[in-house]
Symmetry: C2
Amino acid sequence: MTGTRWLTPEEQRAWRSYVESSKLLFDALDRQLQRDADMPHAYYEILVRLSEADQRSLRMSELAQRTRSSRSRLSHAVARLEEHGWVAREECATDRRGQIARLTDAGLDALRAAAPGHVDAVRRHLVDALTPEQLQQLTAVSEAIIQATEPS
Amino acid sequence: MTGTRWLTPEEQRAWRSYVESSKLLFDALDRQLQRDADMPHAYYEILVRLSEADQRSLRMSELAQRTRSSRSRLSHAVARLEEHGWVAREECATDRRGQIARLTDAGLDALRAAAPGHVDAVRRHLVDALTPEQLQQLTAVSEAIIQATEPS
DNA sequence: CGCCAACAGTTGAGAGTTCAACAAGGTAGC
DNA sequence: GCTACCTTGTTGAACTCTCAACTGTTGGCG
């Protein structure tokens, strides 16, 4: 057991600015969505994934994977979205354990209403704040992090 | 009111990979700290900031700014940390509204015990997963996001 | 077939965060 | 000194997330 490899000053700076920027950014987006569309960002993402799926439907476990969410978290979230009338749960024909989440028409309306303000915020805080080159760099960096962190 | 400027495919890719990587990374770090040190990452950061301050003490509002946290969140968090015996609250001599949070010896011990595992995780998932060049790029990108998002 | 481990999803309790409301102390203008 | 306003910090309720425990289902294997 050799000693801990502490971060160098430059690594510190990178890490701390990354933490700080993420916190600021996601807090801002959450506040914007909560205020204007009555949903947190995590719920917005669920609606997005469903809207992109065939039949606007996905099995719970598939939806959990795509949103990088635990089963439990998704289960609670979908229950909430169901109360709003934005998502409906259906039985799975081929696997009686399965549940299918489907985006309702009202859910699609809510998503369409929320999208412009959200995209605008993403532009303001991220996309338009970076050069095209930086945006490419961010993509590469993010994909490397995913690679290194993804549960294998 | 002109129409929404939707994200181009490349911008989409950047944004989605950024969201995905942040989620994976912070989830992993939170789990690691919770498991090994019985505290979430936000609490670890509070202890870090206090440990770096003069007298290991900071006023609540100053601590809130440095951790990019709301007053309310910090107030709840410090109450919890106080229960653990890691932080103590003291009166402020010059402003009777003020409260000063001080890192206790036990708090410093807890921080020292938590640090190696945490730094190791940060290396595994971020620092060592990127080239030195990418790390610099990440710093620049993060600072640009902070600039664009920071409440003015 | 019968057994049993793995899988799909839910649930409830506990913990953290947010928001709005609040109390109390400071500050500036008159 | 009074008034009005701003700042500091806390509180409680509502909400989200995590973790562990649980139900029911499927699939593999003897």
